[in-house]
């Protein structure tokens, strides 16, 4: 029995050795010959007859091999190894094909992975499908007044309490801060210096709503979120792991957060990155009710200050439509109690007020919304590249298939079965696709990493997984397999059907153009698509250039911006005037420092404060303007020029008359042409407040917030002067508007060590004064173009890829044509055709297809497609002729190059040699 199994095993591994079969057959023949001799034949005749009677020995061997159980498997291995040999023999073809497919597959897998990770992924929480968000927009931070469209996504603390009480459809309803901010944290009883970290203020049921369990310690309870409760915080897992080496004693320990003692109750679970996808997730979670003290945030308890996002878990079986109607009604009731919605106009706005419920499993869709259109565009582009890649592969395989026509004919003539030949070619395609797929995998991994690095520059912990998902890879593999099979087997099938004799006869001598209609159509398609991508890239480059060349009306040379937070360092609003004096003096004492600006925020950063504006003596037009506080040297430090009147001086202090400087757009927006604004008064709407500020100067329109914000009316007030309206309403201790956010240093030369100097200087004033963020002015400006730069770079990358592939495709087909026509060209040259006419003939053929692709398809498609990217371009009205011309010229030039090489080869044909070829 054992022996039986051993035998079977042996035959599975390898067939019977030939000599064994031969010996056996030999015996048979001899034995038969003996019989014949016994019947009276001569030994010679008997031997001959026995051999004849047996039939072919070779055949017996072959038939015996076929009986082997793993015969089929063996032939597959044989086919595969033959395929590998074939592919290695034509290395140029293989490398081109593998690279083409790998880039096509890799680019698509990378983009799809990013789309999957950014747009489609749910929060890592329990049962995300039952989470519902109240609100659908990304309005942020702290808002008041009525929204123009009547749709509200931010709600006040009071609104949240009302909804919690009156909407039992929600099992839990959590509230979270919309504008995630920075805090200064320092661990107690350690040498570590205070660090600026991200913090989010959340409700007590926040973690419970998401169904999360702590990594260690405990998460918040409702009791933590009560006014006057001991200060507690939950630390993120990443923070705990990266900065405290997963030290369990962090839990229960004390941290000084904005100079107040806070106990860490627990560590959030691993992988939880908060309620929204972000490249800078929160490091600390703090209860909402601790915000007024920890962050001196008054809005928490002001009924008409809206600042919270709400996400809740609905009970099973609750229908969304009636719930949305009910929540809208409850929100209106809650709004009705506030002053904003009390007057006649407020009541009108209240009737329009509405909230929209959306699925909450993905969290706040801020990042998703800002990336969606760009990612979708990239998906289209990578799809086009894949299409070009497939066309290329198809062309390469067709060319190869046709070139092997003679080989196939010979094999058919020698008796190979058609199925066997097709199977062989199929195996070749499969091997090629598999290799390409694996190479594509590598490209996909690297590409996803590159994309993430490009999309979130400088981010340390992006909660996005760079590994491509199975579905994505299966899709990409599938596409490449399909292409390979379709275009690898079709020509094989066609040639194997042809009569071998015909095929052999017409082998090399042909006067037809050689390339089939299908091949030429593929070239047309490729050049059309490549043009579309080139034009797209050109439009983006042009747009980015326009953006970069906008006159921002500032000067960034040798300027450094230090963001800091005096509030977090423990200064009260009454103490800041002295602090700012000290900062000015200390920085001026550093050699090389020219100007020291201090301001609430700076040009070209993501910040904007605005308020209603009424000019004294004019009716209230419900207009508003942005405003910034700055010190005496602020305008000089950022390079804003004073056009009329004066800027601020050190005489503008908390005790001097209240003044303001306005920009040109402000003058245009609030005054008639020719009116002199100097000496006029304005303020927030109201009979008293509209006379709060006296305009003493006009400055140019330096770009704040974004380069593209046109006619941005702004006013500037001295760093230390209180706004009279707020001075009438609250004591100085509650006036958080006095806190500065940035120091701008202008030096007389580039100073690489400015960052450490700034740190030391601030720490010397007060150890709690830490640098929240340090950048050169140029870096800060460049950050505002990150997304534009990313999309432009990717577009350029993809269009170069497309150009490369299209050129390669044209080269392949042209050079194939030349090979096919070698003897024809030989005859032509023998009959007197000269070099240039041969080159001309080949080039005409090559350029014709490109020209058709460009003119008949490329330009109209590009024209049509530009409108879809218009919204992402800066100041572009339709197709730019310059871009189109450059794109067409580039493509034509590469097509010419691709055609010229084979054309030159054709012209170098030696007539006598060419005629002998066969």
């Amino acid at each position: 029995m054992l022996k039986e199994w051993l035998t079977r095993l042996r035959f599975l591994m390898s067939p019977k050795p030939n000599h064994e079969i031969d010996d056996e057959v030999q015996f048979h023949i001899e034995r038969q010959a003996e019989e014949y001799i016994a019947a009276g034949m001569t030994p010679r005749e008997a031997g001959r007859k026995a051999v004849v009677a047996f039939g072919g020995i070779q055949k017996a061997r072959a038939q015996s091999h076929e009986q082997r159980p793993s015969f089929f498997l063996g032939s597959v291995v044989q086919d595969a190894s033959h395929a590998v040999r074939q592919l290695r023999k034509s290395r140029g073809f293989t490398v081109t094909a593998v690279l083409t497919l790998a880039l096509g597959i890799g680019a698509n897998a990378a983009i799809f992975t990013l789309v999957n990770a950014v747009l489609l992924k749910n929060l890592p929480v329990v049962d995300p499908s039952t989470l519902v968000r109240i609100g659908n927009t990304n309005e942020c931070c702290v808002n008041w007044g009525a929204n123009g469209d009547g749709i509200y996504s931010l709600l006040a603390t009071d609104d949240w309490h009302q909804l919690q009480k009156n909407a039992p459809e929600f099992e839990e309803l959590a509230a979270m801060q919309s504008g995630i901010g920075q805090i200064i944290a320092r661990r107690d009883k350690t040498q570590e210096s205070a660090r600026s970290v991200r913090s989010e203020f959340v409700s007590g049921n926040y973690f419970r709503t998401f169904g999360l369990k702590p990594q260690i310690g405990r998460l918040f309870t409702d009791a933590d979120n009560v006014e006057g409760a001991p200060f507690v915080a939950v630390m993120s897992y990443d923070m705990w792991q990266n900065n405290y080496a997963s030290d369990p004693s962090v839990v229960g320990g004390t941290f000084w957060i904005n100079t107040k003692a806070v106990t860490i109750t627990g560590i959030a679970p691993k992988g939880f990155y908060g309620d929204r996808l972000s490249s800078t997730p929160p490091d600390f979670y703090l209860p909402i009710e601790s915000m007024p003290v920890l962050a001196n945030a008054q809005h928490v308890h002001i009924p008409d200050r809206r600042w919270l996002y709400l996400i809740g878990r609905v009970k099973p079986g609750v229908a969304m439509t009636p719930l949305q109607a009910k929540i809208t009604e409850l929100v209106r009731q809650s709004f009705a109690a506030t002053t904003t919605f009390s007057d006649a106009e407020g009541k009108r706005a209240l009737a329009k007020a509405k909230v929209v419920l959306v699925p909450g499993g993905g969290g706040i869709q801020e990042m998703q919304d800002s990336y969606a259109s760009k990612l979708k565009l990239l998906m289209w582009i990578s799809g086009l590249v894949l299409l070009i890649a497939c066309a290329n592969i198809a062309n390469l395989l067709l060319v190869r298939g046709m070139n092997r026509r003679a080989e196939m004919s010979v094999r058919t003539a020698l008796g190979a079965m058609r199925t066997r030949i097709v199977r062989q070619l199929l195996t070749e395609s499969l091997v090629l696709s598999t290799v390409s797929g694996m190479a594509g995998l590598v490209v996909a991994y690297a590409g996803t990493r590159m994309l993430i690095a490009m999309a979130f520059p400088g981010a340390q912990s992006v909660p996005i997984d760079a590994s491509p998902s199975g579905v994505v890879l299966a899709f990409a593999f599938g596409v490449s397999l399909l292409t390979g099979i379709l275009f690898g087997v079709t020509p094989a099938w066609l040639t194997s059907k042809a009569n071998p004799a015909d095929a052999l006869r017409s082998g090399a001598r042909t006067t037809t153009s050689g390339a089939s209609l299908l091949q030429r159509s593929l070239i047309v398609l490729q050049s059309a698509l490549a043009l579309v991508l080139l034009v797209g890239a050109g439009m983006f480059i042009q747009s980015l250039n326009k953006l970069r060349n906008i006159d921002l009306k500032l000067n960034s040379t040798n300027r450094y911006i230090i963001h800091f937070d005096p509030q977090a360092a423990g200064y009260s609003p009454a103490q800041v005037e002295a602090l700012y004096r000290t900062i000015e003096e200390r920085f001026h004492a550093i050699s090389g420092v020219r100007k020291v600006g201090i301001s609430a925020y700076t040009p070209m950063e993501a910040n904007n404060w605005g308020d209603g504006v009424q000019i004294q003596g004019q009716p209230d037009h419900h207009n508003w303007a942005s405003w910034v506080r700055g010190n005496a040297e602020y305008f000089d430090s950022v390079g804003t020029h004073v056009l009329m009147g004066r800027g601020f001086t050190i005489q503008d202090t908390s005790t001097s008359p209240v003044v303001a400087v306005v920009n040109q757009s402000f003058v245009k927006k609030f005054f008639k042409p020719g009116e002199n604004p100097i000496g006029r008064r304005f303020g927030s709407p109201g009979p008293v407040s509209s006379g709060d500020f006296e305009i003493v100067g006009v400055v140019e329109d330096t770009a704040y917030n974004s380069a593209t914000w046109k006619n941005h009316a702004m006013y500037f007030i001295p760093m230390t002067q209180r706004i009279p309206e707020s001075a009438r309403q609250r004591p100085i201790e509650k006036d958080t508007g006095l806190y500065a956010g940035a120091i701008v240093i202008q030096t007389d030369r580039p100073m690489d060590n400015m960052q450490s100097i700034a740190r030391q200087t601030l720490a010397a004033i007060n150890p709690n004064l830490s640098v929240v963020k340090f950048q050169t002015f140029d870096e800060q400006i460049a950050d505002r173009f990150t997304q534009n730069r990313m999309i432009t770079r990717l577009m350029t990358l993809f269009s170069i890829l497309a150009l490369l592939l299209a050129t390669l495709g044209l080269y392949g087909v042209t050079s194939y044509t030349v090979t096919r026509r070698t003897s024809e060209i030989g005859i032509r040259m023998a009959l007197g055709a000269n070099r240039s006419s041969v080159v001309g003939m080949i080039m005409r053929g090559a350029m014709l297809q490109t020209a058709i692709g460009l003119c008949a398809f490329g330009i109209p498609i590009a024209w049509f497609c530009v409108r879809y990217i218009q919204s992402q371009l800066y100041e572009s009205k339709g197709m730019s002729l310059a871009v189109l011309t450059i794109a067409v010229l580039t493509l034509t030039a590469s097509a010419a190059a691709a055609g010229l090489i084979p054309a030159q080869r054709a012209a170098s044909t030696n007539p006598s040699k060419a005629l002998r070829t066969e």
């Binding site: 039986e4 079969i21 076929e66």
Partner: protein
């Protein structure tokens, strides 16, 4: 001499049946089948050896080198245990089928 084409699979049965008596080399098997069928069944070498090897691959028969009746080295085939079982099963099948066919043809 009229010969009869063998039904698919019948050759396997005949070989197994022949080997059930004693172990034998290929030539002998062919001769024995020819004799027992009174020359009605002549096994072509082209089908004999593939069949033998198929049965060997399947593990129904096993081969050993031995001395032949003319004192030459020859390959002797014999039934394995599985082969014996297989023969039993195939004989039963054959009986059923031939009875059935006979009934139809009657």
């Amino acid at each position: 001499m009229p010969t009869t084409d063998l039904l698919q699979g019948t050759l396997d049965l005949l070989i197994l049946r022949t080997l059930a008596l004693e172990s034998m080399h290929g030539w002998g098997i062919a001769q024995r089948i020819q004799q027992m069928s009174k020359d009605a069944l002549q096994i072509g070498q082209g089908s004999l050896y593939p069949a033998l090897h198929r049965l060997e691959y399947k593990g129904w028969i096993q081969a050993e080198w031995g001395a032949s009746e003319n004192n030459r080295k020859a390959k002797f085939y014999s039934l394995t245990k599985t082969g014996q079982k297989q023969l039993q099963a195939e004989l039963e099948d054959w009986g059923r089928i031939s009875t059935a066919i006979a009934l139809v043809l009657k």
